[in-house]
Symmetry: C2
Subunit: 347 residues, 2 copies
């Protein structure tokens, strides 16, 4: 397992949709963590370029994250009403709505690409790959990690042959990785870790709300092999986070789950767009994502943090700025101190 070789038991979350850069991935890996590179929303050739760029920057192992596509025939009730509702938002930002369409995010081609390119790890989000695809990755020397949000999904992933599970708790920023996009109340990171560890004998990578060292230490104590952190790196120099998004991160504004931006539940810092549209937003992914993409791009360009998605975990105000390698080392040092303090208390 790659996890056994890491200097720091910390994995960079994929951060699809803008914050992910090859520089961030490479820096985290080079500094002794494991950088994941997002492939979501990139064309396969864009992913190939980014993988090449990571390899220019580091010889250290890294991972690639893939989105498992949903059912192309799935119904999208409420989509048309929602598009009518948000059309004025596009006008407000001098944009048009994009085409509300299904897309498989180039999954099959990306799978071929990663099997050829052989990063150390391929992690999956939004579903579980078939057992033969997992087997093909493993034969190519690539570890297959599957992101899960409840014990049922954990068992499905274990049965498919996953090498490790990324456990995404309720606190996590960005999209819920759940296989279907449901309305159930998500389990917290700590509860998910305890429930899954009772049922599945696989290395578990805890994620969701882990933004400082003591939180990382906590999940390691509760049985995680590593912690996956996204929000903690959003203010890193190497991240692609837009300035208005960066500025929102250290605020005390709460987060909430919303389908307003993408048609799939995701956690972001509450802003005007969420407040006005979350209640009406349908489960229609990636249709709503593509429909809102131009208006979100226009809002970003204007620096208007009320008009685009500010994905962030519940502990976003703890995210530090600076070089990613320093952020990583600072979190790792403080995790070690927390573990030592707890041990002194116990003994």
């Amino acid at each position: 397992m790659i996890l056994d070789e890491l200097e720091h038991p910390i994995v960079l979350a994929p951060l699809a949709g803008g914050a992910s850069t090859p520089e961030l991935t490479a820096t985290v890996s080079e500094a002794g963590g494991l950088g994941l590179l997002a492939s979501g929303y990139l064309p396969p050739e864009g992913l190939e370029e980014r993988i090449a760029r990571v390899r220019e920057l580091t010889d250290a192992p890294f991972g690639v994250n893939l989105f498992v596509p949903g059912d192309p025939a799935a119904e999208t009730p409420g989509l048309d009403d929602y598009l009518r509702r948000i059309a004025p938002e596009a006008g407000r930002y001098g944009a048009e709505l994009g085409e509300a369409r299904y897309d498989d995010d180039g999954y099959a081609q990306k799978l071929v690409l990663v099997t050829e390119q052989r990063p150390a790890v391929v992690s999956f989000t939004f579903g579980c790959p078939e057992a033969d695809r997992v087997a093909a990755l493993k034969e190519a020397g690539v570890e297959a990690w599957v992101t899960v949000t409840n014990p049922r999904e954990a068992r499905i992933a274990a049965k498919a042959g996953a090498d490790a599970l990324v456990l995404q708790g309720s606190e996590a920023g960005g999209h819920r990785a759940s296989f279907p996009d449901g309305d159930d109340e998500p389990l917290s990171t700590l509860v998910l870790l305890r429930l899954v560890s009772q049922r599945v004998r696989l290395p578990l990578i805890a994620s969701g709300g882990l933004t400082d060292g003591p939180a990382v230490a906590a999940v390691l104590t509760a049985g995680a092999s590593a912690a996956q952190l996204g929000t903690a790196f959003l203010r890193a120099d190497e991240a692609g986070t837009e300035p208005a998004y960066r500025d929102a991160l250290p605020s005390r504004t709460p987060t909430a789950l919303t389908r307003a931006f993408s048609g799939r539940r995701a956690r972001g810092i509450v802003n005007r767009f969420m407040t006005e549209h979350s209640a009406e937003a349908p489960a229609a992914y990636p249709h709503v994502h593509y429909a809102t993409a131009p208006l979100r791009a226009a809002a970003r360009k204007r620096g208007d943090a009320d008009g685009f998605n500010l994905w962030a975990g519940q502990a976003h105000e703890l995210a530090q700025k600076g070089p990613a390698a320093e952020i990583l080392r600072s979190i790792s040092d403080s995790a070690r101190q927390a573990l030592e303090a707890a041990a002194n208390r116990a003994l």
Copy 2:
């Protein structure tokens, strides 16, 4: 601080409404944890009897929990519609709806009582006592703990002079302890602990979803002085948990927040009553509590777990049965092992 004197850094949650018994409180305290005794829904004289009973059973320190009353003049929009909606539920169980009324739970008299009786700790739920009441308790040699659900409430409680804060995370079973009953997305136990520890210098008792030793070890590692556990003791021999409720606890049925039973958000194992009524239930506490009390009692009597509240935290399936002292020791031992294992990994 009483926390410094405990053999096990584990506090029994109050468990108002049936599961709390003097026997359970006394057993946890006698075994080296800190038992809290619920006063919610008891008349002051009932509380006095229970305190006396605890003292017959143990000389060890224990605590009492009080509900801080809400505003008697608060509006209850939607209450009448909801009462009409659930009237057939009462009929179904051969009961009548109770009077949907405001009540202060005898707060003033109970405060006088605990100031006279002087348990080691008085903890507060649903609000923060005024600074002079906190001061009066402290002068009487009683520690005042305030339950909070976000950093803002933590600062209010610290300013009022609280000796310690109980941090209730999203995972917790039973009523949300939030000062107002809002619709915000609750913070997880671990996130709440990290955010509050950055702002308030007081001993913090983490609660919510902590049902086994590694979870307790995790919050101690992340900076908690102790862990407060409720669901973990619901199957204890000494608990007042009804048989049908007991039987539901080891199931894998998910939990959700609901106002269906009481008019205030609370987490319980999903059952028919919740499924049918949660969406329509108003914020009207304790009015809805009193209205549904007779039908819930009737459902309990019939052993119908679909007709009453099955308060439980997200990790309820991990709750063990047996004598409370054994449950306490088992959780404490396994917490110690988790801390030692984490320390060995760190060093």
